[in-house]
Amino acid sequence: MKVTLQNLTKVFPGRSKNNHADVVAVNDFSFEIADGELIGLLGPSGCGKSTALNLICGLQEPTSGSIFFDEDDVTNLPPEDRGVGLVFQNYALYPHLTAMQNILFPLQNIKGAERLSKADMQKRAHEVAALVQIDELLDRKPAELSGGQQQRVAIARALAKMPRILLLDEPLSNLDARLRLQTREEIRRIQRETRITTVFVTHDQEEAMSISDTIVVMRSGVVEQIGKPQDVYDNPMNLFVATFLGTPPINVFSGEISGGKLLIGKEALFETNGFPDREVYVGIRPEGFIPDGNGPLHLNLRNIEVMGRDVTVVSTHGASVNPVIRSIISADSSIDVSATEVSFSVKRAKVFVFDKDTEARII
């Protein structure tokens, strides 16, 4: 099912004593989620991504704008009439019911002609349990399940009533690192098998990049960029998106365009024909550095972290916005550890230039 958000806005009235200003949690959202797509809403905490999810789900009503499921306007429908499955950050499994009873619960709510017979309910519950691979655990109560297992039960419960859209609110944030990796692949697999349109909220850019078909990068209630993960990574539209995506994060330098050249300090990185002189931020991805004794960029070597597959060179530079610069280079390249300075040339495609005032990308 296709989901369309049109000029969606949610304003929370200011309630604190000192500050009566309204909080715009979601500001003029307009985008489309294609049928069967997994979309990741990504942004730092407080950026309004959970509010956006609650608006799609119907737990909160938008201040203005509309939501369409296919061609149906669901803006004013209560959540129970929207046919959405929601997986909460803390799973919200009913603690007094077993896994099986939790999965059956939404099915037992259905009234009238669509209500399944008891045997069919059991059958459906077993199907979704098999899908998320918890068949063995159905008699256990949530307290007797691990975090990852609870997560699966929560997904099974959301899928049991065959929702038109599956919403996941920070589904991995309560899992440990290894389980997080495993579960995110699992979510991807389940989503592929069911072909259900899925919205996934996370503040973890790696998580969003790895499983989403499309990511929506948000900041302070505003959509900063929408696109395929790789496209957004390779072509960030502004400094925020560039710094938010990627681990280790992008290295940012203060620089300027002067006389048709991009300068960091006194060092010219490359020619920039046709751009007027101005102050800029220069972002260089960690993988954008090439060790080159004659390279234009001279960094003060701090230390070297050997990771096996590759090597991270940690260095400093007077124009760097971050305290240290991390560049990842192949393990074969020889770097003199005892040297105080290291020289690099850069890969053009990994260097982004942003206007210093607007922070919008210019090159």
Binding site: C57, E80, L86, F88, N109
Partner: protein
């Protein structure tokens, strides 16, 4: 004894001393009194040891009347007051405007003196030479004839006592249940809403199990409180409860000690031990039943 546990015992000492002095010693003392036959409190002598005191109490029609009254009180008021309190608290939790005001109003009976409440009930129910009382006026208006609730038939007096008891125990239950309801995580309700759960089903399948430990606590303490009822009956029917057929077990014990027929600590002790046994049994049964229905997180 190592240093740590010696310290622990010292900390516990004040509580142990007071509990021993005012709880354990009287309990033992009462048990001893209850088997001393023909005990004379003036001369502090008795004829012998045996079960005569129990036999006397159990064959005393006043005691049996008291047991019957207490049983009706317990069976009727505990479930009814708990259910009404649940409805009121559920209602209170679902409103926002004036919630504090309503909470205060519902809590008023709790801070009002029992005897003052009794006086109000007298005005409502009592039939005197001058007026039939407010309730009778309403009954008359609806086409019924006046009933003497305070000095009239047994069922009428029992009804007033039950209503009175329910009214008095309600505020505490409402208070406790309202805070229990507020402690249920909103996420469960959100999850239930998204899954299209009806209000009724949310209440019975989610809310009730979540607050079941508190409900169970209220039922247990409600049972115990109702078994120990006495002052409520006095507030409504005066001190001569035997004559009014409205005595309770605790009232019977009091009468045996200090009432007109008083001066029989042995009979009083036997009755007290019987009450103790009844409460213990009922509480144990409650606990057993609760294992099936109460969910502890």
């Amino acid at each position: 004894m190592d240093k740590r546990s010696r310290k622990a015992w010292i900390y516990l000492l004040p509580a142990i001393v007071f509990l021993g002095l005012f709880m354990v010693y009287p309990l033992i003392d009462v048990s001893i009194y209850s088997v001393e036959e023909g005990y004379n409190s003036a001369s502090r002598t008795f004829f012998g040891v045996g079960s005569y005191n129990y036999s006397y109490v159990l064959h005393d029609p006043y005691f049996m009347q008291a047991v019957k009254n207490t049983a009706i009180l317990v069976i009727f008021t505990v479930p009814v007051s708990t259910c009404i309190a649940l409805l009121i608290s559920a209602g209170l939790s679902s409103i926002k405007a004036l919630r504090k005001l309503y909470q205060t109003i519902y809590f008023l009976p709790y801070v009002t003196n029992t005897l003052a409440v009794g006086l109000v009930f007298m005005i409502l129910f009592n039939k005197t030479a001058y007026t039939d009382g407010l309730i009778n006026l309403i009954i008359n208006r609806l086409g019924g004839s006046s009933v003497d609730f305070i000095n009239g038939p047994y069922w009428a007096k029992m009804l007033v006592l039950c209503i009175y008891t329910i009214w008095v125990v309600m505020p505490f239950k409402v208070l406790v249940l309202t805070s229990a309801l507020a402690s249920v995580n909103q996420q469960y309700y959100d999850a239930a809403r998204v899954d299209g759960t009806s209000k009724m089903r949310i209440f019975t399948k989610i809310t009730l199990p979540m607050i079941s430990p508190i409900v169970f606590y209220l039922i247990i303490t409600g049972f115990i409180g109702a078994f120990k009822a006495y002052s409520d009956a006095v507030a409504l029917f005066g001190t001569n409860l035997n004559a009014a057929e409205m005595n309770t077990i605790v009232g019977y014990i009091y009468d045996m000690l200090y009432g007109n027929s008083g001066g029989y600590p042995s009979f009083a002790s036997a009755a007290a031990i019987i009450l103790f046994a009844i409460i213990l049994t009922i509480t144990c049964i409650n606990s057993l039943i609760s294992k099936k229905y109460v969910f502890y997180n």
